[in-house]
Symmetry: C2
Subunit: 248 residues, 2 copies
DNA sequence: TATAAGGTATTACGCTGCGTTAAAGTCAAT
DNA sequence: ATTGACTTTAACGCAGCGTAATACCTTATA
């Protein structure tokens, strides 16, 4: 059951040149060659080739693959386990990317279809029981004022406003794994603070601090904001606290 | 909110050289440059960069990415949808690989740990109700004879036997998407036929044909053999039919 | 048995996507 | 004004093959 280059190539789905190359660099030499110099690959060779392609798929350079495969401690079982682990990691990575892309798409089409009301969903703290708590703790000024403003604003304004804060969140999401104290994060928080002051009402530092706490506790808010990045709510709240502390 | 090369590089996780390169080939040029020639990247640039890296991750060459991105019909939304689709495909691919590796591992460790009895599970047609059906249709000769042989064989023999047929399955699995009539598949089926004849009993062509049908219907068998490749059972049965037809 | 078709080997140059110096200018802080 | 961290352009290098070009091998068919 020996195969020649093209048979192997066609079977596995690579080029003959690749096999030649692998032979040339000593990565995979055929078990036998005919007197005419034809390469004859064995079943064993095929197995090795599979291993090589697995590692390649995982992004290993051929040099390392060679070392791995020719290592005296190389062990099919272990190699497979390693591959499994890396494949799973790779899949997790792709899952993350899928989620990101998916959310982005949803949000993009969402931005188009969303009504003005919906557009502020998760940020509009007006209804339900939570409102009560909010009033208790921070007075009803900020919440009520916010709602008032939103209702009054023209559609056009809402649109551009919506875009502006989405932009801020997206920007912040880029620093998801930065610390709340970092310059970059703080700069964005300042933007957020200014944005709120410009568009809704003048927040005292204490009110702003309270807002940060609110964010953490309101599901409607966290759901919305976590779209832009896991842990964004926490980062935002913390950063808002840091911001207030720094201003004082 | 403009960023210099290293900021962008560190943020995104690539090298400054890469950004230089992208600028050089006109794939991504910074929105502005200072009088000193410093590259200043905008938010918009970052978005584009993300798109570029997405496509790159999906294996597109930079030239094509450039065409895509600069195409007048380029549309973020569409691009994202495309990316989503390709990411999902890639994940499916990886899932397949994971399953393959996983099964291989299970089987390898299985081969070590399995008892002699278990080793033949899924191929040993002896117990339960199914046996009855088998007898009805193909007489009890083949099934009983097989079981007899298995019970009599020494451990060592079982071991080597097990390995031999696993090898045959694995080999066949390589041709999972070939037609049952193909030379390669038929060659392996012949191996299988010879193997059975050598080790268990002489099968008439009709018995061998019947065996192929049995395979399709016995869950214990299909479960076992499908480990080596999806659709392997069907392929094997069909190929056995073809084999018998060709011999007549 | 000769001839054509299709595989194969070797050699060698080309190409992509950067890594990696190297030499020199910029910027901010001390 | 000097350091140190960053920036620029330019140039060479390198992996992992693709792509000829040229010559040889094998097999089927006439």
């Amino acid at each position: 059951m020996t195969m020649r280059v093209k048979e192997v190539a066609d079977l596995i789905g690579i080029s003959t040149r690749t096999l030649h190359h692998y032979d040339q660099i000593g990565l995979l030499s055929p078990q036998k060659t005919t007197s005419a110099g034809y390469r004859l690959y064995s079943e064993e060779n095929l197995k090795t080739l599979q291993q090589i392609l697995f590692f390649k798929e995982l992004g290993f350079p051929l040099k390392e693959i060679k070392e791995i495969i020719f290592s005296p401690s190389f062990n099919q079982q272990e190699a497979l386990l390693l591959q499994l682990k890396m494949l799973v990691e790779k899949r997790n990575n792709i899952d993350k990317m899928i989620k990101t892309v998916d959310k982005t798409i949803k949000h993009m089409s969402g931005e188009i279809k969303m009504t003005n009301e919906e557009k502020f969903e998760g940020i509009n703290f007006s209804h339900k029981a939570y409102e009560q708590e909010a009033r208790k703790r921070w007075g009803n000024q900020s919440v009520e004022h916010l709602n008032e403003k939103i209702k009054i604003m023209s559609k056009a304004e809402q649109n551009s406003l919506s875009k502006r804060w989405v932009t801020i969140f997206k920007k912040l999401a880029l620093f998801c794994d930065y610390s709340a104290e970092s310059q970059d994060v703080q700069a964005i928080i300042k933007e957020w603070y200014d944005f709120l002051n410009e568009n809704f009402k003048n927040y005292s530092l204490d009110e702003f601090y309270g807002l940060g706490l609110l964010y953490m506790e309101d599901e409607r808010f966290t759901k919305n904001i976590e779209q832009y990045g896991a842990g964004l709510t926490r980062l935002m709240s913390e950063a808002m606290k840091v911001f207030v502390d720094n201003q004082k």
